[in-house]
């Protein structure tokens, strides 16, 4: 039988850890007042990759709890399929109640209003991106402002069907040459070759909000209550959107509060 040498296993672990770290387990990043003073114009691109509200589904972790194994992994798949089926059945009437509600436009309006309160952010233009992925390269090349703020947002019903949840991943890239030295790692090879690479980010943060809408004994009852009053549901969506926009503005205001801020949350 072939045995993996210890060095190989260690190296594989290092590669996996580095890979996962590169995907998203990185700290947030803010810039100081000396940088925000230099930013005279910002274009904002808001992307909401999803088409409709989704239900959160808790992943099954039998394989993890049981120490691994193909059989437990297959049971996980079956459990997750069953949970996804239940979630889709319960959320269908909620989706129907919101079928004419335009989350993206409502978010754009709320963000536009809240960004007016961010003193240093001189917004030129706010663009809504209706696509499954934020095309950073294209928007970077077409933007004519000195910096570009990207807001990647999403929303869902929590797994217990009691609350609405919304979140946003915000990043800001410099377009003007004078701002480029203030990126996170402006001297890295990829930052120099790819202007829209995340190493050039001036700012980066995750924000999220959750608003309780109904209370039920179980998820069936909560889902039913949520869908039975479409007007209340739409109002709750607007509250969630407003809170998200406020959270985005609060996060942006952390820039410029002091010099050389770089926090780990």
């Amino acid at each position: 039988m072939t045995k993996f040498p210890t060095a190989f296993v260690k190296a594989a672990l290092v590669v996996i850890t580095l890979g996962l770290t590169g995907c998203g387990i990185t700290p947030n990043h803010y810039v100081g007042a000396s940088v925000t003073k230099e930013i005279n114009s910002v274009d904002v691109y808001i992307a909401v990759p999803q088409v409709e509200i989704n239900a959160d589904v808790d992943p099954s972790s039998l394989a993890n709890a049981g120490g691994g194994g193909l059989l437990l992994a297959l049971i996980d798949v079956a459990v997750e399929n069953s949970r996804a089926n239940t979630a889709e059945k319960l959320i269908a009437p909620i989706k129907d109640a919101l079928v004419e509600f335009d989350f993206n436009q409502a978010l754009k309006a709320a963000v536009a209003k809240e960004l007016e309160g961010v003193d240093w952010l001189n917004v030129d233009d706010i663009v809504l991106v209706n696509a499954p992925t934020q095309d950073i390269e294209r928007s970077y090349n077409t933007a004519d402002a000195e910096a570009i703020l990207y807001v990647n947002a999403g929303y869902s019903v929590t797994a217990d069907f009691k609350s609405l949840r919304a979140w946003a991943y915000n990043t800001m890239l410099p377009k003007a040459d004078k701002l480029k030295p203030f990126g996170e790692k402006p001297d890295s090879r990829v930052a120099r070759s790819t202007p829209w690479h995340l190493d050039n980010n001036l700012y980066r943060d995750n924000v999220g909000v959750s608003i309780n809408v109904v209370s039920g004994k179980n998820k069936d009852e909560s889902a039913l209550k949520m869908s039975q009053d479409p007007k209340q549901l739409r109002e709750s969506m607007l509250v969630t959107i407003d809170e998200l926009a406020k959270a985005i503005a609060r996060s942006l205001k952390k820039n410029g509060q002091a010099d050389n801020i770089n926090k780990v949350s």
């Binding site: 590669v15 088409v51 996980d76 399929n81």
Partner: protein, 186 residues
């Protein structure tokens, strides 16, 4: 024991896969051909509808989606000719642009059509907005929405399994639409 060269190759491959997974969004074009697929939860109901439907004239079809993508499964962005696929599906259920019916007519708008990942599963949703012309009123009614959905296990993000899931959601949506339209046929 594994040769050092092989180990290096495996590590390099692993590293590339892990790192590229963060940003890579390949486009996955799927077939436009509709094939009715009945889910276990409503197969009997659907089968009866398909067998008994009277023809309706499709006077107008509009792709009214604000987001023209079919969504994402894992890292893949799903695309196809949604208009052709939808009209094929409507024809299968006897809603046809070439049928000459004075009163049994419908205007159909596709409002939502997407698939997305849910952990190891994937869920598809199709929503139509339908205005029908009834013999009594001789004008188009208030629009009604019909939603179809389907959930299945995502084994390998393959074209076939994604299309099957979308076809099942489409079948579900049009079956519900036909169930209502058929009341005018009697």
């Amino acid at each position: 024991m594994l040769a050092p060269t092989l180990m290096k190759k495996i590590l390099l491959l692993l590293g590339i896969v892990m790192l590229s997974g963060c940003h890579y969004s390949p486009k996955l074009n799927i077939d436009n051909q509709f094939e009715a697929r009945h889910s276990s939860r409503n197969a009997k109901h659907h089968m009866n509808i398909t067998a008994q439907t009277c023809p309706y004239r499709l006077t107008e079809f509009k792709d009214a989606r604000s987001n023209k993508s079919l969504g994402r499964v894992a890292f893949s962005v799903i695309e196809n000719d949604v208009t052709q696929w939808s009209i094929d599906a409507l024809k299968t259920f006897n809603i046809h642009p070439d049928v000459n019916r004075e009163y049994l007519q419908v205007k159909v708008s596709l409002v939502k059509a997407y698939i997305h990942s849910v952990n190891t599963a994937m869920a598809a949703n199709i929503v139509f907005k339908v205005e029908k012309k009834s013999p009594e009123v001789k004008a188009f009614d208030q629009p009604q929405y019909y939603r179809g959905y389907s959930v299945s296990t995502n084994w390998a993000t393959g074209r076939g399994e994604i299309l099957d899931t979308l076809n099942e959601a489409m079948t579900d949506a049009i079956s519900k639409m036909r169930a209502n339209l058929d009341r005018q046929c009697r």
